[in-house]
């Protein structure tokens, strides 16, 4: 499968990861799950992805910090951030770090899939 259709899902809530993965696999993407930012960076070192779909607020390393580390290793990887609650500052920081979009949970799934299709053609 082409790298652009490979998505790394990063969230410290297992059920969020599992259900997102099931939806994305059902519509034709290949997904890998990481439980936090550090694990995401480790995954990226092993294999390439077109997109990281990542929670903004996670223990140890937040989504913005993790994405900066990921970009150092794989500059072409795109990111869409998801969050159950984020301050405006953190959202702006994510966008400045290069995230395509910051989406609120619960996600509007049609919108997410449209966005992913644009980012991962």
């Amino acid at each position: 499968m082409s790298v652009t259709r490979r998505i790394l899902i990063v969230d410290d809530d297992d059920a969020v990861c599992e259900t997102l993965s099931d939806v994305l696999e059902a519509v034709g993407y290949h997904t890998v799950i990481a439980g936090d930012g550090e694990e995401a960076v480790t995954c990226i070192q092993k294999e390439d992805f077109g997109l990281v779909l990542m929670d903004l607020r996670m223990p140890r390393m937040n989504g913005v910090q993790a994405y900066r580390e990921i970009k150092k290793r794989r500059p072409a990887v795109e990111a869409i951030m998801i969050t159950a609650y984020a301050t405006g500052d953190l959202v702006q920081e994510a966008l400045r770090a290069g995230a395509r979009e910051v989406l609120s949970k619960p996600l509007a799934m049609d919108r997410l899939l449209t966005l992913i299709a644009a980012v991962c053609p």
Partner: protein
């Protein structure tokens, strides 16, 4: 309860951490339900009428629960505006494009071109506008006309956005309580829409005014200062 949001009265210090934590948790759980429902719809399609009905019910109820949590968090938690230059006409168009409304309602816009940019948090002003638009739609149960206008104040400085409906208007006895938290006349209402809208607008140095005439409808006007040069 004060007619101001806890975010404005200092009560946020006591309530904020609790609401933030509970809201974060509940939104994650609702996210799982939304994802699962979407997955089931993908797998099951519309082959079984009863299944489709249950999926629709799940989506609707999760949507209501999400809206209540969002209102509670917006009402209690102080979120400093993340300001950037903003075109109110663009914002009004964006929010309108996301608005759900029945066929019996006609949308009319009169957006004044060339308005000065404002310096505002797009998410907060969009949320305030969304609240006014949803109120307007819900006021016109028998259909009607929803008008969104923008313009420049008489001083040539302040930018305004007005949302008008042709609903039955707000009873005179209710008008003084419009901004009271939890005051609502809707069976499913939570009564935080206008307080939240006003809180967001005032955080930007603006104001929100509501004018209503029985049988003629209601106009809500948001006035915001222009971007400082």
């Amino acid at each position: 309860m004060s007619d101001k949001a806890p975010a404005e009265t200092g009560e946020e210090a006591a309530l904020g951490p609790l609401v933030r934590k509970v809201g974060h948790l509940v939104r994650n759980k609702l996210a799982v339900l939304v994802n699962s429902t979407y997955y089931l719809r993908l797998r099951l399609g519309d082959t079984d009428e009863k299944v489709t009905r249950h999926l629709n019910l799940m989506e609707r109820e999760v949507g209501v629960a999400s809206a209540v949590v969002a209102d509670l968090m917006d009402f209690v938690i102080v979120k400093e505006p993340a300001r950037r230059p903003l075109d109110v006409n663009q914002l009004a168009g964006d929010v309108l494009s996301e608005l759900a409304y029945p066929d019996a309602i006609k949308i009319v816009t009169a957006l004044k071109p060339g308005l000065p940019l404002i310096e505002a948090d797009p998410a907060q002003i969009a949320r305030a506008l969304e609240k006014l638009l949803v109120n307007a739609v819900e006021a016109m149960t028998a259909g009607g006309r929803l008008t969104v206008r923008t313009g420049l104040g008489d001083d040539g400085q302040m930018v305004w956005i007005a949302v008008s409906d042709t609903g039955p208007g707000i009873p005179v006895e209710d008008q003084a309580r419009l901004f009271d938290p939890l005051f609502t006349t809707k069976p499913q209402g939570f009564g935080l829409g206008l307080p939240i809208a006003r809180s967001f607008v005032e955080r930007h140095g603006g104001r929100l005014e509501v004018r209503s005439s029985p049988e003629k409808g209601t106009t809500c006007t948001v006035t915001l200062p222009p971007r400082s040069r």
